[in-house]
Symmetry: D2
Subunit: 105 residues, 4 copies
C-alpha cells in the first residue's frame, strides 16, 4: 500500500474491438470513476484522478477489469502520474496559475 | 512532411531546473501555442493541439527550443497523438459524446 | 486489490533537482525493482515490469517514495500499461515474434 | 523545421482492428523504420528513434500513414521524447551508465 497523494491522468485504449469508436469504453470507465469518492475530471485526452497512490491505481485497474468484462480482450493505458512533497495542488489550481501568469505578462 | 490531421496532447517537463515549479515553462509554451493558428487547449495534465501532423509536431519542437533558450538543459515530453481516417473530431466533441451517453443511461 | 496480470513500462522523471542527470534516481529505482520478485527489464526509455496489477503499481509507487526520500520534491512518471485476457506474453516474446515475422517477409 | 536532436520512444496502437494482435502493425512500422537512416531500437514497450526532431516526428507520422493504408481506421500513439543541450547520449549509453553505477554500489 502506497498512501502518497498523486495526480494521475489516464488514457485507456481498447484493442481489437472491431470498431474505431471508443465511446462505450470511455463511458464505462467514466461511470466507474464517478461512483467512487475520488475526484475525477474528464478531458479530451484522458481522465484525471486525484487521491492516494494505491487507491488511484486500483481504480485504473478496476477500469481495465470492467472493460475486459465488457468483452474487450486487450487494453493499453497511458498514465501520467505526478507526486510532490512540498504542497497539494488540484488539477484546476494547475490551470489557474498559468492563466493568471499569462494575463500579467 | 506529413499532412495527416492529428490530435496531440503534450505534457512537457523541464529537468534539472533547481525548483519544483514548472509554471514558467508551461506559461512559455502556452504563449507560443496561442500565437499560432493551430487550435490548442490547456488542461491540468497537458496541452491539446489539433492540426496537420508536421505542423503540430513542429510546434512541440519549437516549445522544446523555446524552453532550452530559457536556460533549461534537458526536457522530456510525453505526447499522446491520435489520427483517424473516418471522421474529424474536435477535443470538445470527444467529451460531449461521453457526457451525452452518460445522461442517457 | 486488482490481481489482473499486466505489463507496465515506466519512465520516471525527477523535477527540480538542479542537475540534468537522472542517473542517481534511475539507479535507485532499478535497485529497488531488482530487490523484488517481479520480473523487470531496464531499457533506454524506461523500465518494464511484469506481474499482478496492484503489485506492479505498488512497486512504482515505492519508486516515487524512495526518490522523494532521496530529497526530490516533485516526480512525474509516464506509465504504459497493458492487460490482456487471451494469453500471457513476456516482454521478450513481444520482440521475438516481430523479429521472426520480419525475417520471413 | 526543428533540427534539435532528440531521442523519441513511440508505442503505436491500432484501434478497431477486430483482433487483439498488433503484430502486423508493429512489423510494418519496424520495417519502415529500418529502411531509413535514422537509428532505431525495438523493445517490448515501443521503438526508440534517434535524430533531428522533424525527421523523427515525420517518421512517426509516416508510420501512422502506412498503418492507415493497411486499412486501420484509427491509431493512437504514445511518444516519450527527450532533448538536451549539454551532451549527446545514445539509447545504449543511458543503460550502460546505470548498469555501471549499480555494479559499483
Amino acid at each position: 500500500m502506497v498512501s502518497l497523494n498523486c495526480l494521475a491522468d489516464v488514457c485507456l485504449i481498447p484493442i481489437g474491438t472491431g470498431h474505431a469508436s471508443v465511446l462505450d469504453e470511455v463511458t464505462l470507465i467514466t461511470q466507474l470513476a464517478r461512483e467512487l469518492h475520488l475526484s475525477t475530471t474528464l478531458h479530451s485526452a484522458g481522465t484525471t484522478i486525484e487521491g492516494p497512490w494505491s487507491e488511484v491505481m486500483d481504480l485504473i485497474g478496476q477500469m481495465h477489469e470492467k472493460v475486459h468484462q465488457h468483452g474487450v480482450i486487450r487494453i493499453q493505458s497511458d498514465i501520467r502520474v505526478g507526486t510532490r512533497t512540498d504542497k497539494k495542488q488540484t488539477p484546476q489550481d494547475k490551470i489557474d496559475i498559468v492563466e493568471k501568469k499569462l494575463k500579467n505578462i
